[in-house]
């Protein structure tokens, strides 16, 4: 296994890990807020579930990017491409946008989700507004995902 391959594997692992940590944290904040509301008003569970789940998408994006990198490297087929160091660093760099943006955007999205859950607690009919506001934070995670995917596919192996 070449140094380039090791660097690319590290990139894939870091991107899945950072985005996953961000999502876990974001979903946790949303879950705490939802638990508080549901403990007093169980009827709102259905409306709050979507809001709590929204920060979980960054973890999926990180996982997706890591899988694409792994597939492109041929790791799944048991016959990995011997990447040069430059190619390894290129794949590592390509994985970073969704890794880093995923980490922070999931945390911020979790905070927005908690605020929206609190808004829904006061005005149950406004849950759709809360979902829209929380989903706005998602925009930047999607842009980062696009950049990562375009870069991963743009690198000549």
């Amino acid at each position: 296994m070449t140094l380039g391959t090791v660097i690319a594997i590290c990139g894939a692992a870091i991107c899945a890990t950072l985005a996953g940590i961000g999502s876990a944290y974001g979903v946790r904040i949303g879950g705490q807020a939802a638990a508080g509301v549901v403990s007093e008003n169980p009827g709102l569970f259905g409306k709050l579930l979507v809001l709590q789940a929204l920060p979980g998408t960054q973890g999926i994006y990180g996982f997706l990017t890591a899988v694409i990198i792994i597939v492109r490297m041929g790791l799944l087929g048991g016959n990995p491409i011997a990447l040069t160091t430059a190619q390894g660093w290129a794949l590592f760099g390509a994985a970073m946008p969704i890794g880093i943006v995923g980490l922070f955007s999931a945390i911020y999205q979790g905070q927005t989700a908690a605020a929206s859950i609190h808004m829904t607690a006061k005005q149950p009919d406004s849950s759709a507004k809360g979902i829209t506001m929380t989903a706005m934070v998602e925009t930047y995670a999607i842009l980062a995902l696009l950049v990562s995917i375009l870069l991963v596919f743009g690198i000549q192996l």
């Binding site: 705490q32 807020a33 638990a35 508080g36 007093e40 905070q111 859950i117």
Partner: protein, 326 residues
């Protein structure tokens, strides 16, 4: 077991806020006669099904007790939250001290729901030993007891208890984990308003600086010098002299109200309104103490308004209700 986190606590509080009396309920209560209003209040769930016995007080007490219990249950920082229960401790300490001095039983005048167990306060006052309470209480109340042995001055007694309570609050706020801008601002503003009320009362009684000085509580933004100088200053200079600090504008307006009406009630109403406005500013903080404390203050304001409303109904007069949270 509840989770000690702000998102959880605020989530519960936001649902409980929806059970507070809203504008429509207040309008119905105002229109109804006393017994009908009491029935409406009990039917709305206020008081959690407590027996009224024809009086609103059991409902108010039950609702306040429930509010205090819930905020202590959900708060991630019990030390900070319990500072807002010190008003009850101050009331109980003053009642116990005055009852001891007069040789009477404090009985029903004591209120539950303070920061410290009622039994502890009773034991401290009976034994004249405050070591079971935080250090600030011993620091302030020990000299007060020595003074009390020589001469009974109810105003000095009340002032000493207030000072002990605020010095304890400041000791707590100095703690590393308790540097909370909302609560610091709240207590600083409260000290300023109370000091201005003390200065205005001392001025009305014709007191000199030596007599008025012990009434002033340290920790506010208005300089002690300005407060003491206001005792002899011409009336027209009072709003400018006392209207200092972050709440200077509200304090100046309160002093102007007082100068027109010569009623200290105007000062108290302005203080309640300013503190309620401060609580409302932090109402939508999903990750802080604001909504938790705001809920308690809101319930207390609601209780105060209900007492005013029912007293006015009994007297057959119209009364302006105090500032509400919602």
């Amino acid at each position: 077991m509840p989770q000690a986190s702000y998102p959880y606590a605020v989530g519960r509080i936001k649902v409980l806020e929806t059970r507070m009396l809203d504008k429509a309920k207040w309008a119905r209560l105002k229109e109804a006669d006393s017994s009908e209003a009491l029935r409406l209040l009990a039917d709305s769930g206020y008081g959690g099904g407590a027996q009224t016995g024809g009086d609103v007080e059991p409902l108010i007490r039950a609702e306040l007790e429930a509010a205090r219990q819930v905020i202590l249950e959900v708060t991630p920082n019990e030390g900070l939250t319990s500072l807002f229960l010190l008003r009850t401790d101050a009331h109980n300490l003053k009642t116990l001290l005055k009852a001891r001095v007069l040789g009477i039983d404090s009985g029903d005048l004591l209120a539950a729901g303070g920061s410290f167990p009622l039994e502890t306060l009773q034991k401290c006052v009976a034994e004249r030993d405050y070591s079971a309470l935080p250090e600030a209480f011993s620091r302030v109340l020990r000299p007060m007891e020595e003074q009390l042995a020589q001469r009974v001055d109810p105003l000095a007694l009340s002032a000493a208890v207030d000072r002990a309570v605020f010095e304890y609050a400041q000791d707590v706020l100095r703690g590393r984990k308790n540097r909370n801008p909302f609560i610091r601002e709240y207590f600083t503003a409260q000290i300023d308003f109370i000091n201005v009320q003390s200065a205005i009362r001392a001025r009305a009684l014709g007191w000199d600086t030596d007599k008025a000085s012990p009434l002033l509580i340290p920790g506010g933004e208005i300089e002690r010098r300005d407060l003491l100088e206001s005792l002899d200053a011409p009336e027209e200079q009072l709003p400018r002299k006392l209207g200092r600090g972050a709440y200077g504008r509200a304090i100046a307006a309160a002093v102007e109200d007082y100068l027109q009406t010569h009623s200290t009630q105007a000062l108290e109403q302005r203080m309640d309104a300013a503190l309620m406005e401060l609580a409302r500013r932090y109402k939508y903080d999903s990750f802080g103490m604001g909504p938790i404390v705001g809920y308690l203050l809101g319930r207390e304001a609601e209780a105060k308004a209900l007492r005013v409303l029912f007293a006015a109904k009994r007297a057959g007069i119209d009364a302006a209700l105090p500032e509400l949270y919602a």
